[in-house]
């Protein structure tokens, strides 16, 4: 191969030449990149603060998703809740101990048939004009207007005629809300709602000013300048998909909230590793930690904290008549053949998760203390023998020899797939059942849940407000979120009591009975109460995580450099 013989010197010469070329190309590349950077600078944003900037009294954080829009009457996702919690304020708000405190309303009164709120004078919008009761009336009417198609409209249903207005059966003017004057707001109830103050702290109850709204031409909430703010911070800059800058609102009335001058959201990604790396690199001020990241956190000697995020996850059965899971004994068999402790402690391994015992999480308040202390959850023990008995009973009742494959509907997150695979093998081992895992992406899972195309679904529920009812009404027959279509008169009666009973003890008793009924009749397989392990830069104090309200709360945060 004589071509190869000359290759040596050929190669030598060429590679030298190549090297020169390489240098030349790299130089051109450099210039090219600079040129690109010029254009990139105009396309992207350049807010890149370090995690804590002491001179500017500013911090940098990361958000996991971008808020689709910031119209408080229509927002439904966690990210917009976070932004709105810092830039807006409702009648009532939470202090840093999760207690209700006056917000825009300086005092209020809740009676059997309604409530009255007195708006404080100092409450102002970010353009200097005062916040008035009219702003709340306008906002709430907008939420319930069927044309708005607000998904959280249901949370205003305790207001008189709210549901009818929302269904389009009554005009907006008939809604039981009136601004008697600029500073007094009167609300009529559909039925007695003693927990209305807790509801009023929710995002969907935030005010919107009518004249400003009109001036945005349907783009209210779409951009930073398409919003009016009455909270501790204003949205100064919003580069979609990239970053946000929140600046202290000069017109905000409460000097006990909002100590930082600036909060920069410089990164939007939900990749846990990216967040960890950003924190490690000192670019953001806090991050959540998933189980695989904990060894790194311990190695870095970080101060790890944890928090219950409030949501509960459980296996929900399909109660429709054409499903195997409609059979009570079958459900009981599945309940008895598992142990949530094993799921949480051995399989999921998240330090902040708690094995669930009941539909009501451990932090729900009862009469004086924790609900679960006053009304303990029914005892559960893994009992394979008893489970098999129930299974045989179920087979006899259904008239079958063996159970057909059972479909477990789950999401596409790795945690839900992990749990699903665990259950698949567990039920095969303990009960000889074949479970098929139906992993679907979000919208398709929802569609299947709504149409009832599943036997078991891995469900989760996050609290909307600080009252047991937010979990307690899940299995009422009229609740559209009751995807399994469980129906019993007893449950419906109990929920009605829980909704409008004025005697707190009777109300709590109703919840206690609901808990029992869920264990005995509805039968769910409680999985875990979700929590978050997280780490915060040690120089930042006052950072809060909340189970009801924004996941991360910087309203009380301040920089302490010691």
């Amino acid at each position: 191969m004589h071509v190869m013989d000359t290759n040596k010197s050929y190669a030598g010469q060429v590679s030298r030449h190549l090297a020169i070329y390489a240098f030349g190309i790299l130089a051109v590349l450099f210039l090219f990149i600079y040129a690109l950077a010029f254009f990139a600078g105009t396309a992207g944003s350049s807010v890149n603060g370090n995690a804590i900037n002491i001179e500017r009294n500013s911090i940098t954080i990361a958000l996991s998703e971008e808020p689709p829009q910031l119209d408080s009457t229509r927002s439904t996702d966690a990210s917009s809740f976070i932004v709105l919690a810092h830039t807006m304020e409702g009648l009532i708000s939470y202090d840093d101990n999760d207690q209700l405190i006056p917000g825009v309303a300086e005092r209020w009164e809740i009676k059997d048939d309604g409530a009255t709120f007195w708006i404080r004078e100092e409450a102002k919008w970010s353009d200097g004009k005062p916040v008035t009761a009219h702003d709340f009336e306008f906002a709430w009417k907008r939420v319930l207007d069927p044309d708005t198609a607000a998904e959280y409209a249901f949370i205003l249903y305790p207001i008189k005629n709210a549901e009818a207005v929302n269904q389009g059966n009554l005009p907006k003017e008939m809604l039981g809300v009136r601004a008697i004057s600029d500073s007094i707001l009167e609300v009529d109830f559909e039925r007695p709602t003693p927990y209305f103050d807790k509801l009023a702290a929710f995002n969907t109850y935030f005010p919107v000013r009518e004249d400003f709204f009109g001036s945005t031409n349907g783009r209210y909430g779409a951009d930073a300048d398409m919003l009016l703010y009455n909270g501790p911070y204003i949205l100064d800059e919003w580069v979609h998909g990239a970053s946000m800058v929140w600046k202290k609102n000069p017109f905000y009335w409460n000097d006990q909230k909002g100590f930082l001058d600036e909060i920069v959201t410089a990164y939007i990604t939900n990749d846990v590793n990216a967040n960890l790396n950003l924190f490690k690199d000192g670019q953001i001020v806090q991050t959540a930690l998933s189980a695989p990241m904990l060894p790194t956190a311990m190695e870095q000697r970080w101060q790890i904290d944890r928090f219950m995020d409030g949501s509960l996850f459980f296996l929900e059965f399909n109660h429709r008549s054409d499903r195997m899971t409609e059979n009570l004994n079958f459900r009981k068999a599945l309940l008895l053949a598992q142990d949530p402790n094993e799921l949480v402690y051995k399989v999921l391994k998240e330090a902040s998760y708690l094995p669930a015992e009941s539909l009501f999480p451990v932090w729900i308040q009862g009469l004086e203390g924790a609900f679960r202390k006053e009304y303990p959850a029914p005892q559960h023990r893994l009992d394979i023998g008893k489970a098999k008995e129930h299974l045989d009973l179920a087979k006899a009742e259904l008239g079958i020899e063996e159970f057909p494959p059972i479909v477990l509907l789950t999401g596409d997150s790795s945690l839900s797939l992990l749990a699903a695979e665990y259950y698949q093998e567990l039920y095969k081992k303990n009960l000889g059942l074949e479970i098929r895992i139906d992993a679907q992406i979000f919208k398709q899972r929802l569609a299947k849940m709504t149409s009832g195309d599943f036997d078991i679904v891995m469900a989760g529920w996050g609290p909307d407000y600080f009252d047991a009812l937010t979990f307690g009404d899940l299995f009422a027959s009229w609740n559209l979120n009751n995807r399994g279509r469980y129906q019993s008169d007893k449950m419906d009666d109990l929920v009605r009591i829980a909704q409008s009973e004025l005697d707190p003890r009777k109300r709590m008793d109703a919840f206690g009975e609901i808990q029992e009924l869920i264990h005995d009749d509805v039968v769910i397989v409680p999985m875990y109460e979700r929590g978050v392990s997280f780490v915060v830069d040690s120089r930042l104090k006052g950072f809060k995580r909340r189970s009801v309200g924004p996941q991360v709360d910087f309203n009380y945060a301040y920089i302490n450099d010691q």
């Binding site: 101990n97 060894p295 956190a297 311990m298 402690y345 494959p405 679907q440 992406i441 392990s533």
Partner: protein, 454 residues
């Protein structure tokens, strides 16, 4: 001007020895085959491919552990871990009683991988306590580690830890809480070494204790052997890799072969025909490339009627082929356009070669270089796309493993248990290497310019 003699003009005799045939005339294909056999790279690739096939087909017959079996006491174990365990009684819930008479933070009983039971006395100024666990000593920075529990009054002075207990040393700490639940300065810390344990029932369920065995609590036994370690659910890596090989090799080799075959036919046809046909065919290829992949995958899944949770390997193969051929087609077409203009093609045509002959004998072997490169890259692509598609329910359904899915799962625990990612990745690399070498060998064998050069 040399001098010529009449002797120079004498005729040479017509004996037949002068024109001996020293060896038989070889056709192009025969020559290529001989060269292939002699090629060292091709030989190596052959060994690798045979090894992979043995691994896939014979392996499960020898190593018979169920790939779906979850050994929850040995989750994410690296290969070669110690598996000695002490047999203890079954787990009973703890009420906080302790027979220990010491003071301060202490163990209520010996610490095992089943539970670590701690008791403590009220710390000074404490309105509550928080329990932490670390894998490193707390040290002066007060890095307590992972918070495990909080108690906001002093009525509960015990805690049972069952979270992900490994047989190693942990450092537990108790920190005092103030009235608002905030951390205060006082703390206590102890080091605890955990003993790996199992119970009689569990051991029997895993087949570790035979019915007539005399083992009882207090004895030690070895837990199941996992030569390559276990994954995040305690499943044996070796058997999962073997079972995953079937799917991954089938899709990883089958799909590329098919779509490349189709791409070659399509591309060479387009390139050879040229003109309007070429334009039309290429535009259609562009159209296919631009379609949103995920969307159409979902449609395929429905079209094939795959039920929830069922494995849809064959539909996946079809889907992959249908959506991935354009790349090869365009590449081959480009090569054909170039080759079409070469001198030997024209010469061949003049000699009366028909189109088939031109394509199969001249053009295609010369596109082989490019095609083989594409195959090399298509294999891991197909494997990873298959893994990705299991998210929407295409491909294999759990618990059936595949190398791509195992790699994806291994990413999450990349830092803590790298073997979960490395092992499938190594196998994928070996597969790619094998076909890479095979491709090189084939290309060398078929390269007409190297012909007859030994």
């Amino acid at each position: 001007m040399s001098s010529l003699s009449p002797a120079d003009f004498e005729r040479i005799s017509n004996s037949s020895e002068k024109e001996n045939i020293s060896r038989p005339s070889l056709s192009y294909w025969a020559d290529a085959w001989i060269r292939l056999k002699a090629n060292k790279r091709a030989l190596l690739s052959l060994y690798l491919i045979v090894a992979l096939l043995l691994f896939t087909i014979v392996g499960p017959l020898i190593w018979t552990i169920d790939p779906a079996f979850q050994d929850l006491d040995q989750i994410s174990q690296p290969p070669g871990s110690n598996r000695l365990a002490l047999i203890v009684d079954d787990y009973e819930p703890w009420t906080g009683l302790s027979s220990s008479s010491e003071n301060g933070l202490r163990l209520a009983e010996s610490a095992t991988t089943m539970a670590v039971r701690l008791v403590w006395d009220v710390l000074p100024n404490a309105s509550g306590h928080r329990v932490y666990r670390n894998i490193f000593p707390v040290g002066t920075e007060r890095a307590y580690g992972i918070p495990l529990a909080e108690y906001f009054d002093n009525s509960t002075l015990f805690f049972e830890d069952r979270l992900d207990l490994k047989p190693r040393r942990y450092f537990y700490s108790i920190v005092s809480l103030g009235e608002n639940g905030e951390l205060q300065d006082e703390y206590q810390s102890i080091a605890v070494d955990l003993q790996r344990v199992t119970t009689m029932n569990e051991a029997r369920a895993k087949g570790l204790i035979l019915p007539n065995s005399e083992l009882t609590t207090g004895d030690s036994i070895n837990l199941n052997l996992h030569p390559l370690g276990t994954d995040y659910l305690g499943r044996d890596m070796l058997s999962r890799l073997m079972e995953g090989a079937r799917v991954s090799l089938f899709i990883g080799i089958g799909a590329p072969c098919l779509f490349i075959l189709f791409g070659i036919i399509y591309g060479s046809f387009a390139g050879f025909m040229g003109g309007k046909i070429d334009q039309f065919l290429m535009r259609f290829a562009d159209f296919v490339v631009a379609l949103p992949f995920l969307l159409f995958m979902i449609l395929f899944k429905i079209a094939f009627g795959i039920g929830p949770g069922e494995s849809g390997v064959f539909p996946m193969l079809v889907a992959l082929v249908v959506l991935m051929w354009p790349g090869t087609a365009r590449l081959v077409r480009g090569q054909i356009l170039q080759i079409r203009e070469q001198g030997y093609i024209g010469a061949s045509q003049l000699l009366g070669a028909r189109t088939n002959y031109l394509i199969f004998r001249h053009m295609l072997p010369n596109t082989l270089g490019v095609v083989l490169v594409t195959i090399t890259f298509a294999i891991p692509s197909a494997i990873f796309i298959e893994a990705f598609l299991s998210f929407i329910g295409m491909g294999v359904a759990p618990p059936t493993p595949s190398w791509g899915a195992m790699s994806n799962e291994g990413i999450k625990n990349m830092l803590t248990s790298p073997h979960e990612l490395l092992l499938p990745a190594i196998l994928i690399s070996i597969t790619v290497l094998a076909f890479n070498l095979l491709g090189d060998g084939l290309r060398d064998a078929f390269d007409a310019r190297l012909r007859n050069q030994e």
